[in-house]
Symmetry: C2
Subunit: 115 residues, 2 copies
Amino acid sequence: MKNSQLYKGSLTTIIMKLLEENGRMYGYEITQKVKSITKGELNITEGALYPALHKLEGEGLLDVEVEKVGNRLRKYYKLTEDGQKETVNRLAELEEFIKNMQTLVNPKINPDLQF
Amino acid sequence: MKNSQLYKGSLTTIIMKLLEENGRMYGYEITQKVKSITKGELNITEGALYPALHKLEGEGLLDVEVEKVGNRLRKYYKLTEDGQKETVNRLAELEEFIKNMQTLVNPKINPDLQF
DNA sequence: TATTATGCATAAGAATTTTATGTATGTTTG
DNA sequence: CAAACATACATAAAATTCTTATGCATAATA
């Protein structure tokens, strides 16, 4: 990723959510999807993406299938069963994180908190 | 911070927002405030906090005033003018980030996006 | 009097990301 | 038709951020 520091730490969650939603995707496709979803605001760099995919695969959360399309190589990734379970956890963490950050940014949204 | 990876990169934004809101705070106070706001979910560790404060000070975004309270030392930090401007930027970035992550997590919220 | 809380700090290591580079094929445009 | 851009993978050095561990010191509490 190349962006606001805030995206640090969210890459694997993003990848796993996209795979949950789309079944299977290849690396370049992920970068393009994220770019379009965020209207160009978030650009995942290859230097971050590929090591992240390899790590998730190594952890048994992703499976890979290599395919040749035309004359070009594609590596399609999809969630394993473990990966699907872990995705649920990570999305729950993400929602908690977002809630906490919203409370920090705009404490008045939550009027019963005292601080 | 000691938590879900997601918080990586958000520490300085959190610090600056709290200082914007509270005028001035000292390190330990910041850790306690964050803990109470997040109901114990986010614990900023000293190993992350103090280097972050020193860095922000070095960048001219924070000023420090040392005070002795009882027999103990406190270092009160507050935003400089540059720091106040930068805080506005970072909070805008945070809002964009949250929006983007929400769109990623729950694309159906935003029905006019096509992907 | 031992533990916990308050209050600061730094250093080694881990983890993640940026930046830079490399290889190769396919498409578009001036 | 050559150059530029897009597609598609990869890795390695450096930077950044955070965790973990440690250290010092005072105050309060059990």
